[in-house]
């Protein structure tokens, strides 16, 4: 046994990483002459102590759950899908086309069809890179990241030239018909005339994201396909020997990955903006990588990590609103968390492993 206990791996490592990031952020905030304690209080107040703050936190969380799961599926097959951003963008196009051109009788039907459309568009965008990886060996990291740029260009072309209402300045589609309006938390939980969740964008897709987490767990650990994905991820040659087709697993896992990214668009496009704007994903596809890394590609971990990033985003907005901490430094704080939880994982893990090993040896001697 050269491993530390599972609880330490899953809980202690991320917590220490977050603490380190928080300390560094505090130093950064001190350096520009603001009070880190006040800043933290403001973030907590704004993100967690008001209902509309929760509405925003959970809105961002929903995005990050979808993109986090998207990256996590690919991780299980030992692939690095950096294209969540582009897949979500194209997914948004699917959602928008469904919402604009199909006359829906009720939002639930609209949600279901838009879900299929968004998922299918997102998956289709992942298809070409995955095919190139499976058949031609073009590295998935390179192709997916390049597809992000292609997606941005495609979306720009479609919005500016095809879907933009004439005369409108904004490169965005027309507003979706009222029948596609998804119930927000305000619609669902606020009694008549109350201000609970007023104006906040969290909506019914949050529950869809939670369902996606459960479905993800079931898929990866309770189905044959999930087993094949994990087996392929652990050893391609062993998987091949067991009769698992690498081509099929590469393509199928990337399709699921792209589909999950596409579902994110339900939240931003159908739930929040109710029209497709050019900048609908705004980096959530990349945050998904940090979320999946921090969540150890496990749905519970992804959920918690997404919640943390949701808090950071909403708290960051509060900082921007009420303090003089510049926008760039808020990004620095968010980046520090990503750096520590994602990239510098081993910096915390290795000393911790040694510590646990040492403790165990001492225990055996005594």
């Amino acid at each position: 046994m050269d491993k530390m206990p599972a609880w330490a791996d899953a809980v202690l490592v991320p917590l220490i990483s977050i603490l380190l990031a928080a300390i560094l952020s505090a130093i950064v905030i001190l350096a520009i002459g603001e009070n880190p304690v006040d800043a933290f209080k403001l973030m907590v107040d704004g993100a967690l102590m008001r209902s509309s703050g929760w509405g925003y936190t959970l809105y961002y969380t929903t995005n990050f759950i979808f993109t986090g799961l998207c990256v996590a599926v690919a991780f299980h097959a030992k692939m690095f899908n950096i294209g969540g951003e582009g897949q979500a963008m194209i997914g948004g196009l699917g959602v928008a086309l469904a919402c604009l051109f199909i006359p829906f009788p009720h939002w639930s039907v609209a949600l279901f069809v838009a879900m299929l459309a968004g998922g299918a568009f997102g998956a289709a965008w992942a298809l070409i890179p995955s095919y190139l990886q499976a058949k031609r060996g073009s590295h998935i990291v390179i192709t997916t990241i390049m597809f992000n740029f292609i997606a941005a260009a495609v979306l720009n072309y479609v919005l500016v030239n095809l879907l933009r209402p004439t005369g409108a300045m904004d490169p965005a589609t027309a507003t979706f018909p009222a029948a596609t309006h998804l119930p927000t938390f305000q619609d669902m939980f606020a009694p008549e005339g109350s201000r609970l969740f007023r104006g906040s964008p969290a909506n019914v897709t949050f529950f869809l994201a939670v369902l996606a987490c459960i479905g993800f767990w079931f898929l990866i650990w309770r189905t044959k396909l999930g087993y094949e994905i994990r087996a392929f991820g652990h050893s391609e040659s062993a998987a091949k020997y067991a009769g698992i087709s690498p081509v099929r697993i590469t393509i199928v896992s990337m399709l699921i990955s792209g589909g999950l990214a596409g579902l994110m668009a339900l939240n931003t496009t159908m739930g929040e903006a109710e029209r497709l704007v050019l900048n609908a994903t705004e980096g959530a596809g990349f945050i998904g990588i940090a979320v999946a890394l921090m969540g150890r590609s496990h749905p519970v971990g992804v959920f918690l990590a997404a919640l943390l990033f949701g808090f950071l985003y909403q708290g960051g907005a509060e900082l921007a609103l009420w303090t003089n901490i510049p926008r760039e430094l808020i990004t620095v704080i968010q980046a520090l968390v990503i750096l520590f939880t994602g990239a510098l994982d081993n910096m915390v893990r290795m000393p911790l492993e040694k510590l646990f090993l040492g403790m165990r040896r001492n225990g055996q001697k005594g």
């Binding site: 500016v160 507003t175 104006g199 903006a273």
Partner: protein, 355 residues
């Protein structure tokens, strides 16, 4: 009443609380009637929301910032501002500012018009201002839409570019490829062709994502590419990206044209002129009007001095008398309606340039 200058003379004073303000007012004015009026206006500070490009882009958003700073300096008032980080924050910032009692809430960038249209009805007491955006005044009586006739200003600098060019080839570098920037490019091309019908206008857009507003390196590359095609005057309408265009143009010893703010000072003697878009004036005036701001739709063109070209010590040697006479004549003709500059956004096409 001129309480602004009086208070300004005593340095900026906080005017956040009602009591403070009351005592100040008594001090300076004493008249009961003005006191009641003034206290009401001073209770609400204005707020300013910058678009995603960021506050210090040396261009559009910075012009708004300068206007707000001028308001603060001249009236001694204070204001609050935010640089947006994400799309969802648009509505959030509007609501939080309106709920906290800021009035008016001034916003820059056309992307704010839809969020304003969706929140304005919830805060009927608050006045919202959208610069570059359009919100239907019939549906939302508490919104002021301020639009600029960028094509008219661009026409003038296009004329200057064609007159200053020796090769007969002038360049245009836009930020993100959106209709607003095509409107700039189209006006510019029309102006250049009006002076020299054989002029060749090369137009490039930096990109198709919002990152195109802040990519000086790519701006620099595009500038070099246009120079190699023979362009010797290049107009940048690209936010922060334009800084790279102006820098490279100066390095390569050709002329450039700035945008929105007066950018002549960035490279004195190498920036031919700047197409001014007086966002600063619009912001300052909206803030000064406070709660009594008149809403509706305002179009600021050459006639209103909302757009124009910059002439100062930095570019005076570059602008010949002949150039100035021609441009000023064209300006008069546009105002009088004798020259009609085609507006790209009116029908999504441009007679002088294809994209």
């Amino acid at each position: 009443m001129d309480r602004g200058t009086e208070r300004g003379g005593n340095g900026p004073q906080p005017s956040n609380t009602w009591e403070q303000d009351m005592s100040l007012m008594k001090h300076f004015l004493g008249a009961a009637a003005t006191l009641a009026l003034g206290a009401g206006a001073a209770l609400a500070d204005p707020a300013l929301i910058y678009d995603l490009g960021g506050k210090f882009d040396k261009s559009f958003n910075e012009a708004a910032y300068n206007g707000a700073e001028a308001y603060a300096a001249e009236t001694g008032g204070s204001y609050r501002d935010i640089e947006l980080q994400s799309e969802a924050q648009r509505e959030q910032a509007l609501r939080r500012f309106a709920e906290a009692g800021f009035n008016p809430v001034v916003t820059t960038g056309f992307s704010m018009s839809s969020p304003i249209a969706s929140v304005a009805a919830d805060y009927p007491e608050t006045k919202f201002v959208t610069i570059d955006g359009f919100v239907n005044p019939q549906e939302h009586p508490n919104v002021l839409s301020i639009l600029f006739s960028e094509h008219e200003g661009s026409y003038l600098v296009g004329m200057m570019a064609a007159m200053a060019s020796e090769t007969g080839i002038v360049g245009f570098i836009g930020g993100m490829d959106i209709p607003l920037i095509r409107k700039f490019a189209c006006g510019y091309a029309q102006g250049a062709l009006a002076v020299n019908p054989d002029a060749n206008v090369i137009a490039n857009m930096t990109g198709t994502t919002p990152a195109a507003w802040n990519d000086p390196v790519k701006g620099s590359e595009l500038t070099k590419a246009q120079i190699s095609q023979g362009a010797d005057v290049i107009y940048a309408a690209a936010g922060g990206t334009g800084l790279g265009v102006l820098q490279t143009a100066a390095d390569e010893d050709i002329l450039s044209i700035g945008v929105d703010s007066n950018q002549n000072y960035l490279h004195p003697g190498q920036v031919l002129t700047s197409m001014l878009k007086r966002v600063d004036v619009a912001v300052k005036e909206a803030m000064e009007a406070g709660e009594n701001l008149e809403t509706g739709v305002m179009v600021l063109g050459l006639a209103e001095n909302g757009v124009g070209y910059a002439l100062d010590d930095d570019n005076a040697p570059l602008v010949s008398d002949e150039m100035k006479t021609a441009v000023d004549a064209a300006r008069e003709q546009i105002i009088a309606g004798e020259i009609e500059v085609h507006d790209y956004s009116s029908d999504d096409s441009c007679p002088a340039l294809s994209f």
